[in-house]
Amino acid sequence: MNVREKKERQSGEPCMIWDATLESLAWKSRGWEQVCRYQDLEPADSSMEEENETRKINNSFLRDHNYATEADIISTVEFNSTGELLATGDKGGRVVVFQREQESKTQPHRRGEYNVYSTFQSHEPEFDYLKSLEIEEKINKIKWLPQQNAAYFLLSTNDKTVKLWKISERDKRPEGYNLKDEDGRFRDPSTITTLRVPVLQPMDLMVEATARRVFSNAHTYHINSISVNSDLQTFISTDDLRVNLWNLEITDRSFNIVDIKPANMEELTEVITSAEFHPQQCHTFAYTSSKGCIRLCDMRQAALCDKHCKYFEEPEDPSTRSFFSEIISSISDVKFSHNGRYLMTRDYLTVKVWDLQMENKPLETYQVHDYLRGKLCSLYENDCIFDKFECVWNGSDSVIMTGSYNNFFRMFDRNTKRDVTLEASRENSKPRAILKPRKVCVGGKRRKDEISVDSLDFSKKILHTTWHPHENIIAVAATNNLYIFQDKVN
């Protein structure tokens, strides 16, 4: 339970970028500016200079122990359906929810900032005694439920268990109990001479998170995605081989709707990598595989949706065939467009937009970092080739965004076909500073502001990003830093 925190702000330097409007990115704004940055505290013995600066900002992040910054690595970010709240999950099983600063006439420039609203421990590490393996508490995905009353609800999941959390505010408390003192001690009944009705008194705002449902014991393999249905009554959880359908009210059973486990595990050559419900059609969902194909299923057809009704796959280009072809074709994320007509997939080197009516090839293909194609062997060696990047649509489905290495992230405008590479880093930007586009140099001649492929830092990867549902505000997770950028319009 936490009180709200305000964050400190500094002035930035303007810089020139591209233009954009709020409705569709026609590139008229001054550019993307950093709204705020959150970072977990580093160990006390760290000698980095920025230490003092960061300590002041976010005490609410302080864990009981300072030792493990790995636990602070952000593993998922998600705006809620109105954009008022932003949730992050980390490797240590914590969920931190940010709330947007309310509009204020006296301080209009503070609009758009997000402050810590609630922090809670969603999952704890567990031990599977049967297999002698530890179950990580890392939060793999968070999905919000649309708001139906004063409280907020979200689903968070680790490898094995999905939990429904209720986040509610409490700003009043009852005072004047008959049988209890103000500090909770029971009063001696013989001393009570009058009766009074407890009164609700205002108190400091408290935000509480309570686990309302725990959906467990349904997955043998690791859960990679969850998706709430548009009917707001059911959701699916997906692991490597199965997709299970749950009712939000019922935790002791789920329906298995997809099962690709072969009778003989030796024959296993393909796993499910992600799944999502259609945003409007409550009977339709899509799931993607490690072989780069997407299957669209209709739950009305059969109880077990092993037979897809649509199968999306792009035939392989024989000229680019290599040992790594399959690995780089493995889809790491799938997202339906808001209008429900398209879906977008992310594989290692590209983002593809598919028209649901066209199965034989994608509508659009965007190269995220094609300069890595010649480095696949090295990336295989250091395991980076297995990194799972996510992708996201903007509210109007006109721009798509995904992350890359060196803390770069990329945006592609589907209409103008323009793209931009931006960097989320402390060294290169301050709050309110406008991001400069970045460029990776492939050939020999490197221009002044360019960075060569060999200088890219592959340990700095942006895997998780999210876009506000209506406005041009994005949240980008760079290891243990959360950056929030907004599109600055003149």
Partner: protein, 250 residues
């Protein structure tokens, strides 16, 4: 571990990668231009291809083995690694049979484009084997000599444990089984029900292992390569099937 830029083990790797990228379009051009430079160009890029294949193979094995040591496996990662391994193995087989069947440049087999066009140089096995599903293993002639003995020994030692550990529901807890004397456990199992006429399924199930190598690492690989031990190969594979069944049944 990961600093700025990517560190590589072999210094030749940079050259290999630098070669590959420009080589791909260059090879296309050369094909159209003329045949004279073709052999030279091919052998240059194919040497790097072979070297890369060797590198990828050893990395694959290393990764699969490393991930058995007490950590929970990511099934996706394991499947991708094993598929890559199968792909390499199939290529190696293709190489091997090419050299045996024809004295043509074995590198032709590596150029996938040529597969379908030039039927005379492709082995029947490779022609059948679909690129997209490397798990389908074509029936192989038992007399096929074993070209790359070192690699096969690696495979023979690591793969049986690798695959069973990777895919079993019990995760890497199965590692201890490899230490047991499996012969003792299964000696009372009647294997007469496994008929030798079941050749294709047996091959299919044993797709990961080169034909002439037995499941049991301590046996001599060379003694298996002659046709006379075909029967024992089959029995081995049948036992393997049975054991795999038991191990991975959930």
């Amino acid at each position: 571990m990961l600093g700025r830029g990517v560190k590589r083990k072999w210094s030749c790797l940079e050259e290999l990668e630098a070669e590959e990228l420009p080589n791909a379009p260059v090879i296309e051009e050369k094909k159209q231009d003329g045949e004279e430079d073709r052999g030279e160009q091919q052998s240059k890029s194919n040497m790097s291809h072979l070297q890369q294949r060797q590198l990828v193979l050893s990395l694959c094995l290393e990764k699969l083995q490393h991930y058995q040591a007490g950590m929970e496996l990511s099934l996706r990662r394991s499947v991708l690694l094993i598929n890559t391994l199968r792909q390499i193995q199939e290529e190696m087989r293709c190489d091997g049979s090419d050299v045996r069947l024809h004295s043509v440049n074995p590198d032709v087999c590596l150029l996938r484009d040529d597969f379908r066009e030039d039927e005379s140089v492709t082995c029947p096995g490779c022609a059948e084997g679909d690129r997209e599903s490397p798990s389908l293993s074509p029936p192989l002639s038992p007399e096929m000599p074993f070209q790359e003995a070192n690699i096969s020994l690696d495979l023979q030692k690591s793969l049986p444990n690798t695959v069973s550990n990777t895919f079993s529901d019990a995760g890497n807890a199965m590692g201890y089984l490899s230490d047991l004397a499996l012969d003792d456990i299964f000696e009372d199992i009647d294997t007469s029900m496994y008929e030798t006429s079941d050749l294709p399924p047996a091959w299919g199930a044993g797709s990961l292992w080169p034909v002439s190598v037995s499941f049991w690492p301590d046996e001599d690989a060379k003694s298996r390569s002659s046709a006379g031990t075909l029967q024992s190969c089959l029995l081995d594979l049948n036992e393997l099937d049975h054991i795999m069944d038991i191990l991975v049944k959930s």
